[in-house]
Amino acid sequence: MTTERTSRTIDELEDTLGRLRSTAPAGLAASTLIVTGLADAYATVPSPLGELFVAWNPQGVSAVTLAADPGNFEARHLAETGRRAHRVAALPERLAWAISRRIAGDRRVRIELDLRGRGEFERQVWMKALEIPTGEVRPYGWIAAEIGRPRAVRAVGTALGHNPVPLIVPCHRVVRSDGTIGQYSLGGTRNKRTILAAEGLDPDDLEAQARAGIRLVGSDTTHVVCHPTCRNARRIRAAHRVPFRSLTQATQAGFRPCLVCRPAVGVAA
C-alpha cells in the first residue's frame, strides 16, 4: 500500500514537473538574431523627407531609407542584405541622438556603420563623401580624383546611388560635374534639393552658376581657387570674385587650388 502510494505520488510529481515547461517570450528569437548580427533591428525616425526607416545591428547602422510601409521595407532589406529586419519600438537612445545630430549637419558625431558585403571601391566613395561639410557640395569627379580613380566618375555616381545609409553618409552633397544637382537615391532629385536647402544651400543658385559655366571661383587677392560652395570661396567679396570653367583655366591665370576643398585637374571641366 505504502509503496504503491509513493510510486503514484512520484509519477504525479514528475508529471507536474513536466508541466513546468514554458514557452519562450515572443521577442527572444528576434533579439537573439539581432545580438548575433544575423538579423537587424529597425525603427522609424522623423526627417525633413518624412519617416525614415533605420536598421541597425551590433556592428552599426545597416540601412537608412524611405519606404511605403514596414512590409515593403522588410522585403527590400532582406533582398539587399540577406538579413531579416525586426521592428522595435525605437532606436537606442544614443543612436537616435547621433543620427539627429548628423542630419542636423554635425559631422563629428560618431555613427558605426555595418557595410558588410559592400565593395572596397564603394566604401572608399562613401567615406570620402563623409568629408564634405554641411552646406557644401562637390562634383562626382572630385570624389573620383580624391580616391585616386580620376577616370571612375561614372562608377562614383553608381556607388553613391547604392549608398545604404543616405543622410548619414551625405551622398546628397555630391552633385554632377556640370554643376547640376543630379540624381538621388532617397526619393529623387526633389528630395536632394530639399536636403541641400535645409543645409543652407540654394539649389537654384547652384544650377544657375552651373548653367553660366562656373565650376570654380577664385579670389584675385589671394589667387586661391575653390569649389563655389567651399567655405573659403564664400568669403570672397563680389569685387574680388573670379569665376573659372576649369582648374586648368585657373592655373593658367596664376591661381593655385585651395588646400581645403582641393579642386583637381579635369574634375570640374
Binding site: 505520488t9 514537473l17 508541466r19 513546468l20 515547461r21 519562450a24 527572444l28 545580438v35 548575433t36 544575423l38
Partner: protein, 196 residues
C-alpha cells in the same frame, strides 16, 4: 527539423542553420533558465545569452565537430552556465519585481481584456509548483529541471553539470523528496475528503 538534421544544417552553414536551431530549442532552453532562475526577465536574458554563446562557439567549430554535436545536452550545458553566471552578478541580488508569474499564467500585459478571474483559472497549480521548485536548493533544482522539466538522461545531465552520475541522481532524488512533502499532505487531504 530534428536535431540530426539541425546539426547537418549548422555544419553546412552556421548562419543559415542558426535560425532553425533557435526555433527548435528556444522553448526548452527558456524553460530551463526560467525554472533555474525563477524570474522571467533574468530567464529571458539567460536564454538569449545561451544562444549567443552557442552561436559564437559554433563559428569556431569545424563542420565535422558540429555534425557530431548532441545539440540537446550541449545547449543545456550552456544554459546552466549562463544561469550560473547571471547569479554571480551583484545586480541579481535585488528582489525581482516581475510580471513574470502573471505572464506565465497567460496574462498578456498588452491585452487589457483579460479578467482576474480568467487569470486564476488559467494559472492552475503551475505557479504554486514553480514556487515550490524555486525553493529547492540550487544544485538539486538544476538537476531536477534538467531531468524532469527538460527530460535529459542522467548521463547527459552528468556531462552537462560536470558531476558523477551518482551525484546527479542523489540530487534529483533529494530534491524530489523535498517536493513530495508538498504532495503528501494534499494527497492525504484528498483521501480524507473522499472518505468523509
Amino acid at each position: 527539423m530534428d536535431d540530426t538534421e539541425l546539426a547537418l544544417a549548422l555544419a553546412r552553414d552556421v548562419d543559415t542553420g542558426f535560425a532553425s536551431l533557435l526555433a527548435a530549442h528556444q522553448d526548452r532552453i527558456y524553460s530551463i533558465t526560467l525554472r533555474i532562475l525563477a524570474n522571467h526577465a533574468d530567464a529571458e536574458e539567460a536564454a538569449q545569452d545561451t544562444f549567443v554563446r552557442a552561436y559564437r562557439a559554433l563559428l569556431g567549430y569545424s563542420a565535422a565537430r558540429i555534425r557530431d554535436l548532441a545539440l540537446r545536452p550541449w545547449l543545456a550545458t550552456i544554459a546552466v552556465n549562463a544561469c550560473r553566471n547571471r547569479r554571480r552578478r551583484p545586480s541579481d541580488r535585488r528582489p525581482a519585481l516581475s510580471l513574470g508569474p502573471l505572464v506565465e499564467a497567460g496574462f498578456d500585459p498588452r491585452d487589457p481584456g483579460l479578467s482576474v478571474e480568467a487569470l486564476g483559472e488559467r494559472s492552475g497549480d503551475i505557479e504554486t509548483w514553480a514556487r515550490r521548485l524555486a525553493a529547492v536548493p540550487r544544485g538539486q533544482r538544476t538537476a531536477i529541471v534538467l531531468r524532469h522539466v527538460d527530460g535529459l538522461t542522467y548521463p547527459e545531465i552528468a556531462a552537462a553539470l560536470g558531476l558523477p552520475e551518482g551525484t546527479v541522481k542523489a540530487q534529483v532524488h533529494r530534491g524530489l523528496r523535498r517536493l513530495r512533502e508538498h504532495l503528501e499532505p494534499e494527497g492525504a487531504r484528498r483521501r480524507e475528503e473522499l472518505s468523509a
